[in-house]
Amino acid sequence: MANTLDDLVGAAVRTWATMARTWIEAANAVLVGWLDVADAESVLTGFNEEVVLLPRQQAATALHPGPFTDWDQNQLPLAALTVEPAQVNAGEATEVHVVVQPPDGTASGTYTGSVYDPTGACLLKGVGVYVVGDKPPP
């Protein structure tokens, strides 16, 4: 009987200890997050990505990036471009992210292009993405 009770108490204490530790860790996580204040004033980011608002579409529409070029007519390979989401729902304006993963040898600068639907109709014109490339200036 004593053994059973000891086991029960032991299990209860272990459960409580586990709970308490988890609580303390969670509280610490909150507190540490609280103290480690990011004094950045905004969350806006600006490199290799641009966020644009796509007006509502009448039907669900897949999005495709077109050619993006810089001032010197350097063109990003289409494989380096991603549009997120890849498809928008009907009837709602959507924030669209145009993301660039610059391949080696890309020159830094703003690359401008458009986003199209599958029929080739232009949905977003003149989207500019600042791309940080590794190619030194000529």
Partner: protein
Amino acid sequence: MEAGDETTREFDEEAAEERRAQGSTVAALNAFSAGIASEVRADLGFVDPDEAIKTLAAAVDQDTLRVPRLLVLDSLVRFASRRGDEFRAREAEIDPLLEALVRKSRVPETDVGDAVDTVHRALESVAGLSGEEAPASVEEAPAAHPWQVFVQQAAGPLQLTQAEIEKPLCNDREVVDKGPYKAIGVTVEFHTDASPGELRGFCDPRRWHECSAYQKEMTPWTGAGAMPDEDRPPDGWRRDLLEKVQLAGKDLETPLRFTYSIQDQNDPSWVHLDYVMIRRTGEIKVDEGALDVRRVTSGKHSGRTRVIAKKAILFADPLLAKWPTVACDTFWMDLVIDAAVGCLGRRATIDSTRGIATMAESKEARLDKAIDEAAAATQKSIDAYRQLAKRGAAQLAGDSPGDTDTWVELTAKTWAQAARDGAQAWTSYNALLQAFAESAESKTEQPEPGKTDNDA
């Protein structure tokens, strides 16, 4: 005045020197609030924070402030939000600065004391909210930013303009890969009612020194890697220029390639500038980015102008490398603030007939707005609790109602939300009191017949 029109532009180098000295004073305070070690600050040639505050107070008081007051206010809010205890310990130094700022805001003499108290309380609120962003895990309940908290209470006593209320916001927490380097990505943004054409000077680096608290006039770069000037008719050009930034005792000289383009010289819908470092210097490994001024065609800012400034920066200089927020704290933010308050373009909210800053809204409108904002904050809070309650109910009804991790997470979020609510309630309460007091005051203190604001 068009960019490059040197004949109609007057430039006072003596005033520019004073402006840069004051820029370094602001930088000294920001370096302290950013927690930069005293030895590093001393090596950079910065004065201690007490002296910086006194110097700025004297400049405001004596009408010799050469930098926008927004730069000073921004610095105070950074100080309060980053190091609340240090801020509170300097009441004796800070209050004279606040009093000078309030007096220059044309507050009636009898109201100066109360106005200083209000601005001080606004900064205290900011200090008390340190770290409010932290519980970001509670979805859809973003914390009020310190600047927003400050302006809710201090806009009236300081007669803040709309451009000041909508201060540019800076993010320097992005990490940008540049070849073998991890640079700091800095992005600053604001919206304005000025048109892109009116802000074209902001995108012309040959004009930055006219207003800057850090920049000296650029000169053509003819050293290694230089390319001939290129003009691309009708309105684009490329120039290699040597940028000269002065930060207290440190001069940074960087060869940069600037590429300027404008959609239409007469009424552009956008103006744009790219820049990239031509070659590394002893102080800087990475320095490149873009400025973009663009008319917004959709969303809540439709019809206004969005201004954005991007900089990827990595210092080789051992002192500046220890100050990761230096761009937001000094030259980069200063450049954008200059554009926002009108030095590099039209001043968006200045009453040109009287030449004074106009109030963004009437006192009645501010009371209405404060009530609306308090109601919105409450609704946001209710929504956050509703989300938490829904998740709790789903957890109870789910397959593993005893899942400790989930309960701990939900409880922590609830605590965080409760703490946020306390802070928000205090802010809203203060804003409401302030707005209500001003509203009541405006009803009881009618101007004498025939007397205008100019007579005050």
